[in-house]
Symmetry: C2
């Protein structure tokens, strides 16, 4: 279905109004609040056409119109082409520059989620990279007590993870230090998977002459790496969940509760974000376009951040479907870029 210029303008007017007030708007109010130079009856006809095209609905016969998801989708898609929208980016990029370097990358992600939620007044979510796929800068083992050790891994991007293991065999701290040194010297910058594979081929090659250290390092690493790689689905940083209380959209407690619980459980949100982690640039998911967001009136604006060519995680904003995309989209975009930039700087 093709829309002429005027229809687009009317659609946009309805959406803008609904973004602001969350109230249905009628033809009369449109002629009053926006200057189209035509009467309300004309607007009425246009709105009727838009409804037929699936861009608008009305909740009941005598109510004003509200946008459908298709309407939002159209709005968002055309938004990307508009100049005014691109100009908007500049001022918002300034905001993203509030994000500054942190020793610990997870603090940076925390900052990011706070910034996003503060600026949008919606909920922000940021996933941290999975340790399984990270490139390791440093690995360290600490003996906590007999048969129990802790592994600390620091990724190149600056993410730290602690992990606990029960071992069949007790290993002294001294040996652990040696193993750590060995790994750090010869396997730095590789992924856990890579380390494991290299250790394995190493073992096969020099089967009879490998020294004691390598065997232990291998055993430990095999175990530790295996454990680290499975299950762990990375971390989720979130902020601004309570903003949903301020939205008139969600009067239903169940929906609010559902969202908060989903975010608390983290699992489903991480899956949601990671699913689209491959796609380039900012992605917008409107309402039921995504199963997780369901039919509860939520939308998601998400982008990925990276280090070099490597995508590390995703960050985004979850808000009501009637959120102000023209502000949120460039914000998410520049936040993602700023995070990438900052992670890059960590040498």
């Amino acid at each position: 279905m093709q829309l002429d210029e005027r229809s687009k303008k009317v659609l946009k007017a309805v959406i803008l109004s609904y973004i602001k007030t969350a109230l249905p708007i009628g033809s009369r109010s449109i002629t009053e609040r926006f200057d189209f130079g035509v009467g309300s009856a004309t607007i009425r006809n246009i709105m009727s056409d838009l409804e037929e095209g699936g861009f608008l609905t009305h909740p009941h016969t005598s109510a004003g119109r509200i946008p459908t998801e298709k309407g939002y989708r159209f709005y968002v898609d055309t938004l990307f082409e508009e100049e005014a929208f691109l100009n908007n980016k500049n001022s918002i990029m300034m905001e993203a520059e509030q994000l500054v370097q942190r020793e610990d990358a997870s603090l940076l992600l925390q900052d990011t989620s706070r910034l996003l939620s503060d600026l949008t007044h919606y909920m922000a979510v940021v996933t941290a990279p999975k340790i399984a796929t990270a490139h390791i800068r440093h690995i360290e083992f600490i003996r906590l007590r007999a048969n129990c050790i802790m592994a600390i891994t620091v990724s190149e991007a600056g993410f730290v993870q602690n992990k606990f293991f029960d071992l069949a065999k007790d290993i002294s701290q001294k040996s652990l230090n040696d193993i750590s040194d060995y790994l750090n010297n010869f396997y730095q910058g590789m992924t856990l998977q890579g380390i494991r594979e290299k250790l394995m081929t190493q073992m096969e090659k020099i089967e009879d002459l490998y020294d004691h250290l390598q065997t232990e390092a291998f055993e430990l690493t095999k175990y530790a790496v295996g454990d680290m790689m499975e299950g762990e689905s990375g971390e989720l940083y979130t902020d601004g969940a309570t903003h949903i209380f301020d939205l008139p959209d969600f009067s239903d407690r169940k929906i609010m509760k559902g969202l908060l619980e989903a975010v608390k459980e983290k699992q489903s949100v991480i899956q949601l974000l990671d699913k689209y982690i491959g796609s380039k640039g900012v992605q917008v998911f409107i309402g039921s376009e995504n199963r997780f967001l369901g039919n509860h009136g939520f939308s998601l604006v998400v982008s990925q951040y990276k280090r070099g060519d490597r995508v590390l995680g995703a960050l985004g904003v979850i808000g009501p479907t009637r959120m102000d995309y023209s502000k949120v989209i460039p914000l998410v975009d520049s936040a993602a870029k700023q995070v990438s930039r900052l992670l890059e700087d960590l040498s």
Copy 2:
């Protein structure tokens, strides 16, 4: 003011009813639902007396009575003396035994908060010990990049903390390992404060012959310890915040939002719990007895957990003032004991 047996029974009846239904109850309903063997008019007179004594109120002239904070206080205080209440503990102690050993003590606290909130359907909060006062089992330094290191401390109780430092001088990983070894060998089991002091006197004593290692260890530790001790207010583990959605008590969004935000900020909740960390056994704070809980209808049941004689943190339940104290109090009590027991076992 003294209450006779019958008045106490009526008060208890009102409270039990209100705990269940959150609805005001009148004299007639009491005679129907409880068997006092007297007419409603008599109950009416008793209730009138109780109101005069400040144990009950009614929201408006022709509504039933509801307990005041003083009423709850009286109820809770007498509860501690009752046999039936103590018997209740046995079944609830079983629940607390669901808590099992975890390599990482913070996981245990996480489990605890989940258990408490699951069993009570209220919100659970658990504070972790401050690293500043913890006895250190192991300390490790990792060089992240030039002039930036990470310190990992493991306390005797099994709590791990990572901390980042920027240093004026760059130290090699090798030196850091030596320093770690040195500290772990000679200062294990002390608090950060203790380590610092001992290092200081050590330096003074053997001023001219201390070796290179000790100087570096001292410098680093002085810096690291100082940084670790200040500001850091420990961690807060929380669960079940969304349960407040299910309570009919809080129809006001602002109150819900306020509570969730307070818990998210953690600071004030930690202060609240730590304030009463010294007091022995279970403590109950009803409504405005505590500033944080304010006049929003919340109460707090809290107890401390320890390792040996040393109090490490506090755990508790935040619920509506009309919460079921006879279940929550013994639960918090036995959870605290179970956590203490499990932390003890960690050798």
